[in-house]
Every structure is written in structure tokens, then in C-alpha cells.
């Protein structure tokens, strides 16, 4: 009886997990706040077509061939991307209950603010519209800045680079490479999102109450929507769409992000930002795009390349463990000699 119940409960749990996983994948491909959703893939294609016909006189055919080449989309590297997307979705679903939620952070901030700040009582005549504008803007700026900062750390610290290296081991870039992420890195990204968005939301609701809302399009932050609509997916592609150095000082172009994925040492640790270029300029990591011979993507170091799922999940853990070991050894020997 007990066994039967256990079996039944397990089956129900597995079933829920399966539907949750499927729903997650569906969201990934359809939701307006997901980069790889179908609408943005189409819009990126249109952007590429217009841009290359206007700036470089490419024919539609040539552009499409460049965009949708089988060598890129069905390369070994790209196939690993797809597998990672599908498997990660399940792993993250399992981890979700243990991860710090935005609401928890937002509520904590809200209550903490009550201890030291009295919200101003405005009469709000005609100025209510400003609150959503500022909220959306602040959310966007802090999101963009914190992503730069975390990305910077992922490159700087060997313990973290071990995980981020998986993303950089992609030899061909497709829009789905954006999701080529080790679960450990995904957890860190999630934590960042929870802290930043929870903090901003908790503080804004405390100060402005029900006047706060997200200025969005189809449920996505309006600015993120614009960024995605205007071809963010070309960042992970083989079409070097550059904005020209004047604009690239403010907005990172797809071509600049491709430099970030380049094997050339001169391009290492450059253009770490997502939307705005200002963080890279402040951090000394900004690099303008120069027309050049096609870039080689991937990493070249003493470690193995990622050829299959097992390597993709296991090798970063191993490599990170070695990095931790090195730090401890250094610390111990420093203590002994000191």
C-alpha cells in the first residue's frame, strides 16, 4: 500500500516535472522576455537583411546564406548548444525551489526600508506617469550594469571562468548560444537577477506604492524589448553587424560581441557588456569593431574542448575545483613561508 502510494506520488511528480519542462521550453520560444523567442529571431533576420543591403549592398540571398548556413546551425558546437538548452531547462526546474526568489528579496528590502525611511507623501498631480518611467529605466540600468559586473567576474576569477568557459567554447555562434550556460553559472545569473530586480522593485513599491509598474511590451521591459527586436540575436551569429565607432561608444553592436567571442588574444576579456557600452568604457574593456578577416570563435587553452554533454557539465566542475585547490595551496604556502 505504502509502496503503491510512493510509486504513484513519484509518477505524478515526474509528470508535473515533464509538463513544467515542456512549458518552460515553450516560453523560451514564445515569450517576449526571452531572447530566442521566434518573433525576435524573425526580427533579427529582417534587421540583418536591411542592414547588409543598405550598408554593404548584399543580396537577400547572400545575407540569408550567411545567416542560415547549415555548417553553422548544425555544427557540432551548435548541436551541443541545443542539447544544453533542453537539459538545462530540466535542471533549473529542479533547482528552482532552492533558489533565492525576487519576491523574497523585494519583501525583505521593503520591510528593511520601513526601519529607516518614511516615504514622501506627494500630491501626485500630473506626475504619476514619471514613476513607471523611472522604475523601468532604473531596472534596465541596474540590470545592464550588474550583468556587466558579473560577466567581468566570470572572466577574471579562474573559479568562475571554468564555468563561463563553456559559453566561450562555442566554435560557431547561433542565437541559441546565448543559452549555452553551465547550471552553476545560471544559478549565479539567477541570484543576480533576484538581488537587483528584487532590490529595485522592493524600494520602488515602498516609496511609490501602487503607482509603480513596468513599462513593457507584451510583458517584457520596454527597453529590453527594443534591444531584442532590433537584432540582439545577431550578437551570437556570424554576421558582423557594426554600428560604427560613434554609436558603438554607447551601444554595443553585434560585431563587438563577436569580438568578445574571438580566439584572438587581443580580443580577450573585451566588450563584456550587454546593451550599453558605458560599463565597458568605465571598466577599460571597451573595444571598437574594425572590419577584418572573419573571426575564429572559441577558446584555445590547455583544457579539452567540449564535445559532448558530459564534458560540458563535468569539465567546468573539475576545472573549477582545481582552481579552488590552487588558491588553497597558495594560501597554505603563503602562511608557511610567512
Amino acid at each position: 500500500m505504502l509502496m503503491e502510494q510512493l510509486l504513484l506520488d513519484t509518477l505524478i511528480w515526474l509528470q508535473e516535472l515533464f509538463w513544467g519542462w515542456l512549458a518552460g521550453l515553450q516560453t523560451l520560444l514564445l515569450a517576449a522576455n526571452k531572447r530566442v523567442s521566434v518573433g525576435y529571431l524573425v526580427s533579427a533576420t529582417l534587421v540583418a537583411l536591411l542592414w547588409f543591403s543598405w550598408r554593404h549592398n548584399w543580396s537577400v540571398h547572400d545575407t540569408l546564406k550567411q545567416l542560415y548556413s547549415r555548417q553553422i546551425w548544425w555544427s557540432r558546437s551548435a548541436r551541443l548548444d541545443y542539447m544544453l538548452v533542453v537539459v538545462n531547462q530540466a535542471i533549473m526546474l529542479l533547482l528552482k525551489p532552492f533558489l533565492l526568489g525576487k519576491l523574497l528579496v523585494a519583501t525583505a528590502i521593503y520591510y528593511a526600508m520601513a526601519d529607516w525611511l518614511v516615504p514622501v507623501a506627494w500630491s501626485w498631480s500630473g506626475l504619476e506617469w514619471l514613476v513607471p518611467v523611472i522604475y523601468t529605466l532604473v531596472l534596465f540600468l541596474l540590470d545592464d550594469a550588474s550583468r556587466y559586473w558579473l560577466h567581468h567576474l566570470m572572466h577574471r576569477w579562474p573559479v568562475l571562468w571554468a564555468f563561463h568557459r563553456l559559453h566561450h567554447s562555442a566554435k560557431t555562434l547561433t542565437p541559441f548560444t546565448v543559452l549555452r550556460t553551465h547550471p552553476v553559472e545560471a544559478v549565479l545569473f539567477g541570484l543576480r537577477g533576484a538581488l537587483v530586480q528584487g532590490l529595485v522593485t522592493g524600494a520602488f513599491v515602498y516609496l511609490f506604492g501602487s503607482k509603480v509598474s513596468l513599462l513593457g511590451v507584451l510583458g517584457a521591459n520596454g527597453l529590453v524589448f527594443m534591444f531584442n527586436l532590433l537584432g540582439a540575436n545577431l550578437r551570437h551569429s556570424h554576421v558582423p553587424l557594426s554600428y560604427g565607432s560613434r554609436v558603438e561608444k554607447w551601444l554595443l553592436s553585434p560585431a563587438q560581441h563577436q569580438l568578445h567571442h574571438s580566439q584572438d588574444r587581443a580580443h580577450y576579456d573585451k566588450n563584456l557588456g550587454v546593451v550599453l557600452a558605458i560599463w565597458d568604457r568605465l571598466g577599460g574593456t571597451w573595444l571598437a569593431y574594425q572590419p577584418q578577416t572573419p573571426l575564429q570563435f572559441g577558446v584555445c587553452d590547455e583544457y579539452d574542448q567540449h564535445d559532448n554533454l558530459w564534458q560540458a557539465y563535468w569539465q567546468p566542475l573539475q576545472q573549477s575545483g582545481q582552481a579552488v585547490k590552487r588558491v588553497i595551496q597558495r594560501w597554505v604556502s603563503a602562511r608557511q613561508s610567512g
Binding site: K102, L117, V118, A186, F189, G193, S213, L214, H257
Partner: protein
């Protein structure tokens, strides 16, 4: 009868059997047999809690009297009087919701509220008074008002008296008396009748009285929280639900919902909590245990089990009151925001101020009620009293600071904006100290919607 109708009858009969068995399988707090040894009377059941129901009717009526002119003599008759002839002003028969009794004495003779009011210290109200003194003082002050509301202090005596009395009489009597020392072995033993000639044993009656004070219909476990809520509101559509014995009217002794049972139902109907059924089930289970002892003293194991049921009741009941504090802190928070806006825009704020005072009266009444459970609230009580203060903060940023020579003293204190923040802290305190779950009027509710609108960042985009 034609033959073709026979199968239909069969179906009907089967349906009736199912319906009856469904009915019987639910626990109703009624008809427990007489177990008193050598009982000589003619009573068929040992269940009796008419006195408690009389007090519920007195409380409901007193609330109405304060709102309708607060006549001193009439208030005294319902609070401390015991005379015959007191009419049940509330709950009275309504169109579509007839009630059986119209006189308090039909429920129980010679009952009052004052004699059963908590006489320990109350810290949350000025004047260093006991619970019963606080109520007497409030009624005296109310008699100086036209409608139970004093705009100079922001005191709404209708709400203050009602919500505090629910604690100081019903909650206090149940959890600090009947479910406390009266469960001990030597106190009201089960091997003896409660009093000479009674049809119930000591423990049976102690338990019944505690149940009566909660204010739930005897057939609560056959009802949903929404049903019980609608019964207390005397909605015509709830008549069929209330009328368990099917006599076409609502028996105020066994079929009506009052006081904290109503509040429990109001929270539970939101779906996050189950206070009403948890408390009632514990009462029914405890009563079954006592009945099973069959007129003998409870063994130590039985008493331990009974105390475990009592603990369930006490914990959940306290949570219901804490939920109410949480809810009204949220209402007061929203009221202050509206008041501040109206004042800033030079609009008429008198109606808003009246609502603010009403909600504050409920908030304070429930907060004071928490002090009457026989357990020292310690730091939680101190924090709660400091956050609420003795009165709502008035538009000139003044607040009642004490009582001198029978009159309230007032002084300038914190601003309304700061007081609004206090309400956030009150809600936080109720979560931390009592683990409230229903959380009506949660000031952080907007966070949940907004956070949901941000979407999930489960699939991290890696740039």
C-alpha cells in the same frame, strides 16, 4: 405507480442513503449522550452552552446600542445587567433569515458580559486599568458621543468595545480559563456532575463552554468557511446552510455564527488558511474523548491528549486574532495614504477620517485582545503597543498620550507618514511573531504582482 418509475425511485433512495451517510459522517458538535453516573434527570444529551450564546447575543446587541446613540443605561443593561426582558437587538430576524429567539433569556437567564471579562492588566490602553475597567471606561466615554465616535480622539467605540470585548470575554474565558486550569485533574472532574443534578460532567461542560465562546455553528464541519461567513452576515442565501435541523429558522443557540468563528471563516474563505475547521475539529475530537471516558475521571494519557486538542485551539485562535491585527493594519495603512492625498489636494477628508478611525478601532481592539489570552506577549506586546500608540495619529499629528482625571491627554508626536510606516511594521510583527498566513490587506501585495510581471530569469541569457 407505473413500473417505469420504480428504477427512478431506486435512484432517489440510493441518493438519499448517500446523502444521509455523508451527513452522518461529518462531525457535529451536538447530541453527545449523558455520561454522568447515576443521572436521575430526563435530559437526552449532555451538550450545553446556552450561557455562551447569550453572551454572544449580548455582545452583538451592545455593539448596535453604541452605534445608535450609546445610551448609558441601555449599554449597562447589556454589559453588566442581568435583568429579564432584554431583547436580542442583534442577530434579529431579517427578511429571508428568520431567527428563533428574540429575548436573551431564551438563550440563558441572568447572564452578562462584565462578570466574565478579563481582569488582568491591559497595557495597550492608557490609564493602568484591568480589562473590565477598560471596557467600562470605553462605554462611559461612548455615552458622551452621539454615534459612538469621538472625532477629537479618533476613537470609534463601536469597534473598540466590540473587538476588545471579543477578546476580553470570549477568547480570554476560553483559552485562559476553560482550556487552561479547568482541564487539570482536580478541577471540575469528569467523575462528577458539573453541579448537583446536572446532565453533564465537569469536563464535558468545561469543554462545551469553551466551544460556545468560539462562536461557531454546531454543524460547522458540514459547512464551508464561506457558508459560515454568510451565516454570520445573515444572508438569505445562507438560511438553508444555517438551518441544520430544517425548522425554517435559525436557532441562535446552535446554528448561528459569531465573533472569532466569523473572523476565522472570513480569512479561510480566501483559501490560504483553515482556522475555522481546524479549531472546530479539535473541539469535536476533544468532546468525543471526554464522552468516551463515560463519566469516569480522565487518565493522564487522556488528559494529555485533551490538552493537545486545547493547544491546537489556543494557537489557531490566537492566529485568527493576529490575522485580524494584520488585516486592519493594512486597512489603516491604505486609509492614511488616502487621507494624506486628500489633505494635500485640499479635499474634504471627513469621510476618510471616519473610515480611518473605524479601521483603527478594529485594529486596536484586536491588538488589545491579544493581551487577554493569559500568556504574556513579552517583547511582541511591547512592540505592538509602541507601534500603535494609544490612539490614531490625528491630522494635526497629535495622539492620545494618557488619561488624567478621567480625561484623555493628547500631545504632538509622530507624523501621519511615520504612522503609516508603523502599520507596515505591525504587519511584519504579526508575520514574525504569529506566523499569519491569510494576510488580508497585505501592504506588500503589490510586490508580488510586479515581481511576476518581471518574468522568470530561470533560463539565464549569457552574453
Amino acid at each position: 405507480m407505473s413500473l417505469t418509475k420504480i428504477p427512478q425511485l431506486g435512484v432517489l433512495a440510493a441518493a438519499m442513503v448517500i446523502a444521509t451517510s455523508a451527513h452522518a459522517s461529518k462531525d457535529v458538535y451536538a447530541d453527545f449522550p449523558v455520561t454522568v453516573q447515576n443521572y436521575a434527570g430526563d435530559k437526552q444529551t449532555s451538550v450545553s452552552y446556552g450561557g455562551q450564546m447569550a453572551r454572544h447575543a449580548l455582545h452583538n446587541s451592545l455593539k448596535k446600542i453604541i452605534g445608535k446613540g450609546a445610551d448609558a443605561q441601555q449599554m449597562a443593561a447589556y454589559f453588566s445587567g442581568k435583568d429579564a426582558g432584554r431583547e436580542i437587538i442583534d442577530p434579529a430576524s431579517k427578511e429571508g433569515f428568520p431567527v428563533k429567539q428574540s429575548q436573551v433569556d431564551e438563550l440563558s437567564k441572568g447572564k452578562n458580559l462584565a462578570g466574565k471579562t478579563y481582569n488582568g492588566a491591559i497595557f495597550g490602553f492608557p490609564g493602568n486599568m484591568t480589562g473590565v475597567e477598560v471596557l467600562e471606561f470605553m462605554l462611559d466615554q461612548a455615552s458622551n458621543t452621539a454615534t459612538g465616535f469621538d472625532p477629537l480622539t479618533g476613537y470609534d467605540y463601536i469597534q473598540l468595545v466590540s473587538k476588545f470585548a471579543m477578546g476580553a470575554v470570549f477568547y480570554s474565558q476560553a483559552v485562559d480559563n476553560y482550556l487552561d486550569e479547568k482541564l487539570e485533574a482536580g478541577n471540575k472532574p469528569n467523575s462528577k456532575p458539573y453541579k448537583d443534578g446536572a446532565a453533564y460532567t465537569g469536563k464535558e461542560h468545561v469543554w462545551d463552554e469553551a466551544f460556545g465562546y468560539f462562536g461557531a455553528p454546531a454543524h460547522t464541519l458540514t459547512l464551508t468557511a464561506k457558508d459560515v461567513y454568510n451565516i454570520a452576515k445573515q444572508k438569505p442565501e445562507a438560511l438553508a446552510k444555517a438551518d441544520y435541523n430544517g425548522d425554517g429558522m435559525v436557532d441562535l443557540k446552535t446554528e448561528m455564527a459569531y465573533a472569532h468563528a466569523y473572523y476565522a471563516a472570513s480569512f479561510d474563505k480566501g483559501g490560504k488558511t483553515n482556522y475555522l475547521h481546524t479549531i472546530t475539529q479539535a473541539y469535536v475530537d476533544g468532546r468525543k474523548l471526554i464522552t468516551a471516558a463515560n463519566g469516569r475521571d480522565l487518565t493522564d494519557t487522556q488528559r494529555q491528549q485533551l490538552k493537545a486538542y486545547a493547544d491546537v485551539i489556543k494557537t489557531n485562535w490566537q492566529q485568527v486574532i493576529a490575522e485580524s491585527v494584520f488585516k486592519y493594519a493594512g486597512s489603516v495603512y491604505a486609509d492614511i495614504a488616502k487621507l494624506e492625498k486628500a489633505v494635500a489636494n485640499n479635499e474634504d477628508a471627513s469621510k476618510l477620517f471616519r473610515t480611518y478611525s473605524k479601521h483603527w478601532g478594529e485594529l486596536k481592539g484586536f491588538a488589545l485582545a491579544l493581551e487577554t489570552g493569559g500568556k504574556n506577549l513579552g517583547i511582541v506586546g511591547v512592540k505592538l503597543n509602541r507601534l500603535l500608540g494609544y490612539s490614531p495619529v490625528l491630522l494635526g499629528n497629535t495622539q492620545v498620550t494618557g488619561i488624567a482625571n478621567g480625561e484623555y491627554t493628547q500631545a504632538e508626536g509622530i507624523s501621519m507618514g511615520e504612522y503609516r510606516v508603523h502599520m507596515i511594521k505591525v504587519q511584519k510583527l504579526m508575520i514574525d511573531a504569529f506566523g499569519v498566513q491569510a494576510r488580508s490587506k497585505d501592504v506588500t501585495a503589490e510586490l508580488a504582482d510586479l515581481v511576476a510581471s518581471l518574468g522568470s530569469s530561470l533560463a539565464a541569457e549569457n552574453d
